[in-house]
């Protein structure tokens, strides 16, 4: 017996809705899996700067999607010479060796200089004021031990899938590192 048009229509409509629901469920499932996979990837690795490849070009300060940049100068006190004349702190031709703004190299005054005992001074980075321009890093590396260097600070990095500073870096110094070891720290050179 041939199906009546009414019966056929009812069956097709049910099939259509069943298919639609199945399709939506599959889509939602795929999206969830994709999201989980992305999250898992993001949890496994994060972006970081290799300080031995960084050329202190200044682009980290202007290319990061955050303002100020998530890139900050960090200071290895174990490597630092605690110099009275710190070339990471003072302008190359600073008129005087004191903390006056006219003598300071940092464009935002983000380095704090403290006398420990003559002639040793300690230099600390004020991260909230640091913009990651690497000017101090270049000054330290030109004359000193290279104890100042840049790192992406993961308390503020939003971990973009397509990191803007990694793309702009001229030496490909920014790479993915394990999230449980998110910093590439400098070591004191062995003799």
């Amino acid at each position: 017996m041939a199906d009546s048009p009414q019966a056929g229509q009812s069956s097709d409509r049910r099939g259509f809705f069943r298919g639609l629901v199945r399709g939506l469920a599959l889509l939602a499932g795929g999206a969830t899996l994709g999201l989980l996979a992305t999250r898992a990837q993001a949890a496994r690795t994060v972006w970081q700067i290799d300080p031995y490849k960084c050329t202190m070009c200044g682009r980290c300060a202007v290319e990061c999607v955050l303002s100020p940049s998530a890139v900050k100068c960090v200071h290895s006190h174990g490597m630092c010479g605690y110099c009275e004349l710190c070339t990471g702190f003072f302008e190359p031709d600073a008129p005087n060796l004191h903390e006056g703004a006219e003598n300071q190299l940092c464009p935002t005054g983000a380095i704090e200089r403290t006398l420990i005992e003559q002639p040793y001074f300690e230099y600390r980075i004020k991260e909230d004021e640091c913009i990651g321009c690497a000017k101090c890093v270049a000054g330290c590396a030109a004359f000193g031990n290279g104890s100042m260097y840049l790192q992406i600070r993961h308390d503020r990095c939003v971990d973009c899938n397509d990191c803007a500073i990694a793309r702009a870096c001229p030496t490909q110094a920014i790479r993915r590192v394990p999230a449980d070891q998110p910093y590439l720290l400098k070591q004191v050179d062995e003799p």
């Binding site: 048009p5 229509q9 097709d12 409509r13 259509f16 639609l20 399709g23 300080p51 031995y52 490849k53 960084c54 050329t55 202190m56 070009c57 200044g58 682009r59 300060a61 202007v62 290319e63 010479g81 605690y82 110099c83 009275e84 004349l85 710190c86 070339t87 190359p92 031709d93 190299l105 464009p107 002639p119 040793y120 321009c133 690497a134 000017k135 270049a138 000054g139 590396a141 030109a142 004359f143 000193g144 031990n145 290279g146 899938n161 397509d162 803007a164 793309r167 702009a168 030496t171 400098k186 050179d189 003799p191």
Partner: protein, 339 residues
């Protein structure tokens, strides 16, 4: 009815397809966002540029370059002149003897990285690694070794006069005098921010020490008393640049000095009172870009190396300069008025 059913399905299918295409396009656009954006300009205020300072010769007379040789001795740590007129160079775990033309005439391997060396009048060679001193004969055979200092010790300078041995230890910031293996005295209190701490014995038997953190050379007598000093900090050619210079120096036979600076990469001639009299060689002639950071140029270290200097002791007053960054050896002669 059948046509209406087909139309509805087609409508939904097309709608989903369009949504899918739109989502794909959106994701692609998001991924390409930084790629499409032109690079942003780095403000001049963020740039560290010492090119002009390195190029400044203060109008001083310049030494004349008589020859340059590519030695390939990248990362060389020390250089000194042998009584024969040859140059002894410490390069990683080797000592290489170069003739005045820069040709290697002899080389021998050690089991340690050589950081400092001194050639005695009998052509025996004292070499220092981080914590030990070794005496070798001219052929390179080790005659004796002894350990000095402690775990913090990093030897960077060595000199000998008669039975006395003088050692600079940048790790402990001390200078010690030894005789017969026993320490006679030790000088403390130096400010040595980076592992450059050179010393030399002058023609008047004074021990000259590069007090780099103070930007001066200091002379000590045989009883460890400071008797003279000169030098000041400054990027101008009259001063010692950066945090800690001079990184290397030699005292000439007439009491004048040749000093080398890292950072600005320049070598200068000073009179016996310390006044700068001539530029021996600057960064440009050494083939060094002063704005290229050490980490990018040196694969082995981020501590910027400075030029190594040696007095050739010839009649022309020749000076040899070897730069560890590119291995270039340059022989220069003073202008006539300063010869």
């Amino acid at each position: 009815m059948s046509l209406r059913w087909l139309t509805r399905r087609a409508f939904v299918t097309r709608t989903l397809s369009l949504l899918g295409l739109g989502a794909a396009a959106g994701i692609k656009a998001g991924c390409d966002r930084t790629e499409r954006r032109p690079p942003r300009q780095v403000p001049q205020a963020f740039r560290y540029d010492i090119t002009d300072l390195a190029a400044d010769d203060g109008g001083l007379p310049r030494f004349q370059l008589s020859r340059s040789v590519e030695t390939g001795l990248l990362g060389a740590a020390a250089m000194t002149t042998a009584p024969s007129g040859n140059l002894a160079v410490a390069h990683n775990e080797q000592v290489i003897v170069l003739d005045p033309a820069g040709r290697a005439v002899r080389r021998w391997a050690t089991d340690h990285r050589v950081l400092a060396l001194h050639v005695a009048n009998d052509e025996s060679i004292l070499v220092a690694d981080a914590r030990r001193v070794h005496r070798h004969n001219a052929a390179g055979r080790r005659l004796e070794s002894w350990t000095v200092g402690d775990d913090r010790t990093r030897l960077t300078g060595i000199a000998a006069a008669g039975d006395d041995l003088f050692i600079a230890d940048a790790g402990n910031r001390t200078v010690s005098r030894y005789r017969g293996g026993d320490r006679v005295w030790r000088l403390d209190g130096f400010h040595v921010p980076s592992p450059y701490f050179d010393l030399a014995i002058g023609p008047d038997d004074l021990l000259w020490v590069a007090h780099t953190g103070r930007h001066r050379l200091e002379a000590y007598n045989s009883t460890a008393d400071l008797v003279r000093s000169w030098g000041r900090a400054g990027m101008a050619i009259t001063g010692f640049s950066g945090c800690c210079n001079p990184c290397h120096f030699v005292v000439l036979g007439d009491g004048r000095f040749i000093t080398a600076e890292k950072g600005l990469h320049r070598v200068k001639l000073h009179d016996a009172e310390g006044e700068v009299r001539a530029l021996v060689i600057g960064a440009a002639a050494l083939g060094i870009d002063v704005n290229t950071p050490a980490c990018a140029a040196e694969q082995h270290s981020c501590v910027p190396p400075g030029p190594l200097v040696a007095d050739l002791g010839d009649d022309d007053g020749g000076v040899a300069v070897l730069h560890p960054r590119n291995g270039g050896l340059h022989v220069l002669e003073p202008p006539t008025e300063l010869a």
